[in-house]
């Protein structure tokens, strides 16, 4: 992935001004300024968001300090607020969803981009885009009426029976909880992974494929060893998009997670996520401390997304350098 930068030589301030004016007349400069404004507004909105969340959470920040992150009691009546179970629930459900969605999504994208006939690929792509546009409350309803009963009656007993020695699959099978929320989230984010990964795989230059094939590799080898590594940054991008969606999802999660702030190793246990508790309690928050603690949870979710995104970018840099190094040897 080479990037090219062009530098325009400038000869003195007068010539610079003249070229600026000519560019202004041709419209280039206007386009640049307008698009710059649009780009800057993204930064502005982000900063504004952090500022508002920071301002709105003065009381709990002063009262609890860092113990807000470490304690796990959430008691609106007695004014005790700790974010730990919500952070845990958010991370666990997102992890479960990616664990399911990443292999499925990337596998489907490889099939659609590399192996399927164009007509099938384009038809399926239409359905996938349709799925990505379904409102989350619909996925929540689907979760409540289909996934939850299936979980309670078949999947959870089966998991308990086969993998019950792991702490992950112990305890009563309510049907709702971390696992169910993760599964519903997986269904929601798979379209993102497929759609973006397919586009990225399709944009890999033909030369790459043909070179691999001409060296005698099979079609699968060319796909797996050449095309997929080439498209890796874009595929990672699709996973981050899915992760962001999973972290922030509210409606579908609250309908199937059980809304109970507990930390449990078992995926069968009910839990709670940050976005869900904010949506549930903000409108009826009785005290200022309760209200502002919910705002601080918003800040925590923002930080969490920020940190995970940063780590993800580091991962890209690390893996793509290794890939390049391997390519040179």
């Amino acid at each position: 992935m080479a990037t090219t930068t062009t530098t325009v030589p400038s000869a003195g301030p007068v010539a610079g001004l003249r070229s600026f004016l000519s560019r202004l007349r041709e419209g280039d400069e206007i386009a640049r300024m307008i698009t710059f404004l649009f780009a800057a507004s993204v930064v502005l909105v982000t900063l504004l968001l952090v500022f508002v969340l920071w301002q709105g959470s003065v009381l709990p920040r002063h009262k609890f300090g860092f113990s807000f992150f470490r304690t796990s009691v959430w008691d609106p009546i007695f004014g005790q607020f700790g974010a730990l179970p919500f952070i845990y629930g958010t991370l666990v459900t997102a992890a479960v969803s990616l664990f399911i969605a990443v292999p499925l999504g990337i596998g489907a994208a490889i099939f659609l981009a590399e192996l399927a006939p164009a007509r099938i690929s384009d038809t399926l792509e239409f359905f996938i885009d349709l799925l990505a546009a379904v409102p989350s409350v619909i996925y929540g309803v689907l979760g409540v009426f289909i996934v939850v009963p299936l979980m309670r009656q078949y999947i959870q007993p089966a998991l308990k029976h086969s993998l019950g020695f792991l702490p992950l699959f112990q305890g009563p099978a309510y049907g709702i909880g971390f696992l169910t929320a993760g599964v519903v989230l997986a269904i929601m984010v798979i379209p993102y992974i497929i759609s973006v990964s397919r586009e990225v795989l399709l944009s890999v230059p033909r030369d790459q494929r043909e070179a691999a094939l001409s060296l005698g590799s099979t079609r699968w080898e060319a796909t797996w060893r050449v095309v997929v590594p080439f498209a890796r940054p874009g595929i990672f991008g699709s996973i981050f998009l899915a992760l962001a969606r999973a972290l922030g999802e509210t409606m579908a999660v609250t309908m199937v997670i059980g809304n109970t702030p507990i930390i449990s190793a078992s995926l069968f246990s009910p839990g709670y996520s940050i976005a869900a508790v904010i949506a549930n309690e903000l409108t009826e928050a009785s005290s200022n401390l309760h209200y502002q603690s919910l705002i601080e949870l918003g800040l925590v979710l923002f930080l969490l997304t920020f940190v995970l995104n940063g780590l993800a970018r580091l991962l890209i840099v690390a893996t793509s350098q290794r890939g390049r190094a391997m390519g040179h040897t």
Binding site: V73, W74, D75, P76, I77, F78, Q80, V144, V148, P149, R152, P172, Y174, G175, I176, T254, M255, G258, N259, T260, P270, Y272, A276, A279, N280, E281, T283, E284, A285, S286, S287
Partner: protein, 342 residues
């Protein structure tokens, strides 16, 4: 040209008159539970008073209290009365107080799903508080079985379901639990959302009801109107006189009548566990919050006019929508209190 200008002027004049006629608009915000009733009332009242439009946003009791305190709406509405701290905040901000006016009544009912049990169960105070504190964990516990002779209850674990979002329904339920159990009062307390000792949270009456229907051996609470409109089975609850009462509109109004004798002047009264042989114990008023002073006299008269109508003719619309109506004693007292709005 002249004719067109003239025509335009006429049109403008007519529009101006129409606009002036419907100019008075009052906004309110708050509780979601009485929203169907309120929107029916505002609609009917608008038919009688074409020049007055009342807009109501059902954003939740907490939001209603917040907005009326900040002065962004003309009146608020709540399922749980404002506490002293909130009243003080209003007084400090505006220099005058805010009044509570009960409008209709609601109730919570205990609902359950036990495979093989179709009988209507009786619940004592000890059973309900024990289950929600996590002390009674099996359906065949003596505290439940003792009040249900002849019903064979299984030895299965009880799965408790409660509301996940802050709600007036939860306020009524926890207010009741605080009255019947000292342990609940000191450990958990009452509020729109609390730190539940046990149970799964589901969103909305429909969420709790759906979870109970789906899950064998579950137990939870549902707003009475939702249970009536969806033909849900629910149990009887033992009241303070020792009788097992099934919630319906009459037994809820009876609870209000029982409490009316000791009604404080500001109407901030809880009628859970109310006295009276036929009173259903998990009942509550829902209130309009009206500032005691208005700078705009037309607005004040409009709101007072509406409350007066709501207490008289308005009460006739309640039962069609499954709300229990106010007892006569309370209506008389409210009409008197209305004079304090200036």
């Amino acid at each position: 040209m002249k004719r067109i200008t003239g025509l335009l002027l006429v049109v403008l004049a007519v529009a101006g008159v129409l606009w002036a006629e419907s100019a008075l608009s009052i906004t309110g915000a708050g509780a979601t539970f009485p929203y169907p009733m309120y929107s029916k009332w505002f609609d009917e009242y608008h038919k009688k008073n074409a020049n007055l439009e009342i807009n109501y946003q059902s954003i939740g009791s907490g939001g209603g209290i917040k907005q009326v305190t900040e002065g962004t709406v003309d009146f608020g509405a709540t399922d749980g009365p404002m506490n002293d701290e909130q009243l003080k905040a209003f007084q400090d901000k505006h220099g005058f107080g805010i009044l509570h006016f009960p409008t209709v009544l609601g109730a919570d009912v205990p609902s359950y799903n036990i495979p093989g049990v179709s009988a209507e169960l009786n619940f004592t105070q000890e059973a309900i508080s024990g289950i929600f504190l996590g002390k009674i964990t099996k359906w065949n516990d003596p505290a439940i079985a003792g009040a249900n002779k002849g019903v064979s209850l299984p030895a299965n674990d009880i799965i408790v379901v409660h509301r996940s979002e802050g709600s007036g329904t939860t306020y009524i339920w926890t207010d009741y639990l605080s009255k019947i159990s000292d342990e609940w009062k000191t450990k958990v307390g009452k509020g729109a959302s609390v730190n539940w000792p046990v149970g799964l949270g589901q969103k909305g009456n429909e969420g709790v009801a759906g979870m109970i229907k789906q899950t064998p051996n579950s137990f939870g609470y549902i707003e009475l109107i939702y249970a009536i409109q969806n033909n849900m089975a629910y149990g009887r609850v033992k009241n303070s006189s020792g009788a097992f009462i099934k919630a319906d509109l009459a037994s809820v109004t009876a609870a209000a009548a029982g409490a009316a004798k000791n009604m404080p002047d500001d109407f901030r009264v809880s009628i859970t566990d109310a006295p009276g042989k036929t009173a259903y114990p998990i009942s509550s008023f829902t209130w309009l919050l009206v500032p005691a002073k208005f700078s705009d006299a037309t607005k004040r008269d409009a709101i007072k006019g509406f409350v007066k109508w709501m207490l008289a003719d308005g009460q006739n619309y309640t039962e069609a929508l499954s709300y229990a109506k106010l007892p006569k004693e309370v209506v008389a007292k409210e009409l008197k209190a209305l004079n304090n709005v200036q």
